[in-house]
Symmetry: C2
Subunit: 589 residues, 2 copies
Amino acid sequence: MSYLAPLREMQFVLYELLHSDEVLPALPGYEDATRDIMDAMLNEGAKLTQNVIAPTNVPGDRQGCVYDPETKSVKTPDGFREAYKQFAENGWTALSSPLEYGGQGMPHLLNTVAEEMMCSANLSLGMYPGLTHGAVNALLSYGTDEQKDYYLPRLISGEWTGTMCLTEPQCGTDLGLIRTKAEPQADGSYAVTGTKIWITGGEQDLTDNIVHLVLAKLPDAPGGSKGISLFLVPKVLPDGSRNTAFCGGLEHKMGIRGSATCVMNFEGAKGWLIGEAHKGLQAMFVMMNSARLMVGIQGLGLAEAAYQVSLGFAKERLQSRSLAGPQAPDQAADPIIVHPDVRRMLLRQKATIEGCRALAYYTVMQLDISQHGADEEARERADDMVQLLTPVVKAFLTDEGFFCANDGLQLMGGSGFTQDWPLEQFVRDARITRIYEGTNGIQALDLVGRKMGMNGGRSVKRFFAMVDGFLKEHPDAPYAGALKAALERLQKATLWLMQNGMTDREQAGAAATPYLRLFALTTVAFFWSRMALVARQQLDAGSTETDFYQAKLAAGQFFIDRILPQSLALMAEIESGKDSLMAMTAEQF
Amino acid sequence: MSYLAPLREMQFVLYELLHSDEVLPALPGYEDATRDIMDAMLNEGAKLTQNVIAPTNVPGDRQGCVYDPETKSVKTPDGFREAYKQFAENGWTALSSPLEYGGQGMPHLLNTVAEEMMCSANLSLGMYPGLTHGAVNALLSYGTDEQKDYYLPRLISGEWTGTMCLTEPQCGTDLGLIRTKAEPQADGSYAVTGTKIWITGGEQDLTDNIVHLVLAKLPDAPGGSKGISLFLVPKVLPDGSRNTAFCGGLEHKMGIRGSATCVMNFEGAKGWLIGEAHKGLQAMFVMMNSARLMVGIQGLGLAEAAYQVSLGFAKERLQSRSLAGPQAPDQAADPIIVHPDVRRMLLRQKATIEGCRALAYYTVMQLDISQHGADEEARERADDMVQLLTPVVKAFLTDEGFFCANDGLQLMGGSGFTQDWPLEQFVRDARITRIYEGTNGIQALDLVGRKMGMNGGRSVKRFFAMVDGFLKEHPDAPYAGALKAALERLQKATLWLMQNGMTDREQAGAAATPYLRLFALTTVAFFWSRMALVARQQLDAGSTETDFYQAKLAAGQFFIDRILPQSLALMAEIESGKDSLMAMTAEQF
């Protein structure tokens, strides 16, 4: 039942597919990101997540967080505080933050691999430091020097955590409806008043202070989302006094029960403006974008955890005989991994996880290049890919994380449904990832409504050119034919969107979700073709890791045979347009 | 949040699609199943499930069942006992049972509609009387007159409940591995010894007695599933003494927490053989087949419940403006039902639910005809459809029930994930329906391995002829072109299966799950074409229910545009064969 960090799989993507050990150390500031150092840190991360973090996962779910209305405090599950402390003290909160504020200055890619491990081991616990990254990024981009100097070292070291306070009872997706107010004070601070809901880590007992980043409106704010400003509101003020930002209660949720999801009441709490007045949405997107990639990684991490447990079960559980005759004649029945339909569920997980890992790590390495690239052109090209692929990573990896966890549960039968096994918790935990940091429907609208059209469609053109370039360079790559057909289908869908969605935004809205999925399937097929090419080259060169590389080729073939064909259905769905969605009046439903 | 039985939708399928008010009263024994009587009973069922049953659902989930190890007894959630009592006293347990044992002798179809309501209102509570039907059916088919006279009236009245004791720790799907033993006693009874797990209602406090139907092996039993016999083991013996069949504990489960899922220890418990020695599997299939149809209905009922709540939310929740410009300019934002992507999630539910309801009710009406048909030929034809469609109903309706509940949760965003709304419970409850009474993978193997080949493929030929006949008779029916293409695809897949799966059973196993889904999508498309034809005829004839019939046409079109195209992907998946599933050794995973 225990988690083992899939280091060999991670290394395959990092070094053999992405050559991060050549690319990253060549970037100014990432000279230390050599393979030796990366591997040493990943080995440490594996030990910590396997031995310290993972054991807190199931007990944390059963115990949950407890709110004390007397003190307005929250008790996290037993063991969380100690595990978090060890995580922070060993430097994991500081991994990819700048050296000047006490960070380790390592690439985001390394942090992402560590985050995958954390999410496999205990998503609820991982969310406390995970959200802190958003606060750090917002401060780095928009904080004053004074704010940076005071808050960043404490957030980066993990001494304090950060939150993102966006949602209110009447507004989630539509932040223009925010009612929280910020009144300017004589000393240059602001008095923030309002209620925020679903605030992850809004209150907890892991750290002594919590730094809330709060969206609110100034008295002179224009209407809608253009009138939102961002404020920093610490739980404990720099003078040591308790700020009037209190937890009003906890949500009772389907999953991530070890994560404190708080109602936060700001009662004239003292805060400071971050960035410019009325420009809070821009700062929020800085927090949000890194958070969106991280949520994609959560889906990946949960899928990996579910796969490991269900694979172990499939190898152990004896039930019925192989359709090809007994495989374990000395036992009462064969292990269920002999059955084609069980393998279908295992390979759905394996092929999806490995393809998604490649997509996610690639995207995060582009993020590193976009920030550390040697020249403007390289940074721009990388940023284009990050912008384009962020909603794809967020939505596809969380949808698939949920589906993979469900496949794992399903192949375990009744056992998967009981709490004797962690599968049902993985499914419950995975469910939220499709919703928070922008629902997956919102990700799809972001892709078709914003990302595709950016800079005259430059990103998507570059993406097509990249896949096309690979096919031209490697016409005999594994699955090249299927990939070419998928690319052409995606290009056709893109043209359909350009022709129909520009003039009629409801057409774009109607196509968005199947289009994002079509985009994702094509992208993952591209990475599978590249990974299979590496595997074939290794086998041809006489590698002794034959099992590993043969499994790569088999999993890739499964993806092409049994997952990629979904693009046929998605294409038909896109081309059917908005008519069947919009035909009914609301009353006719 | 409350449940409203969708009587108009139910009546549409019963009368306008299936003409049950003409077909059923024409069958010997079902003369009373007129529309007046059916409607009167459905109205009563609606009142009971809405007002008495539904209010117990959420509290029952929170409280769960509690086991007392001292007394080995189980306390069901508060209110369950009273609600069950009212359900039984009003005759709902007796609806479709024979008059001679105190039943009401009404068609299974009526009972199925009532079961749909029950499953929407409280699946956990509905399972106690639901499982009793299996015991009643087994006794009716295989009990002695003495057994029938003593047990049936008490089970049918709901005074007692019944269980199905199949699974053991080492065997679920593979019942040949059963270890429970039955030793013949001098008085003609048997001493049953062994442990059964996952026994729904194995112990409860709703009734004074529980009748366990237990699979066990006689001392001279041949190995494997051919050596299984069925025994009746009551909790309280006819002489009033307590039998040695005890609950050893409860499972802690992801969902259906109000349903007591018991470990049952039979400690030399007194039992009686049902049917012939070593022929228990046959009797078990009698229990199982009706249970499988019922589990399909559970999926349908949960999907309907989820749809109602999420539809209400979509009409109320104000967030963002329509992509076509403000629709509710006097409010801060538009209700989210204006958004194409929200409608996609609503229509996925609506189109699936209504299509699945037609498929399920059709199948159950065939069950009625198979038992009450006037002549052998009619009974045989109807039985062919029941046999063929039972695995399709079980697997497709439960897969889709889960997906629909998830779509409902998704469109509600964070609200759907909290326990302030019942969506997360519907998702948790729906999860088990894909597993119990034979996992959906087993259903698919049943379809391709047993049902398709029965009587030289007679059932599937008759099914194709029925769809083909409809298309010939109504070449201009709505969606006729798409249905024809889907039918041809299914026929091609069937041919592929015949050519490949007969000689190589692993090929059949590899194709099974996508084939079942392809079969289901085609079948539901067939029913949508028929339903849309009715709707069009009603509109052409000037019906005043224009909203209702227009919505039918829109939902049907959605199914054809956005769900049926999945058959393209499934076809590719089937034709890819077993190679990518079987390429890896177990060790390479």
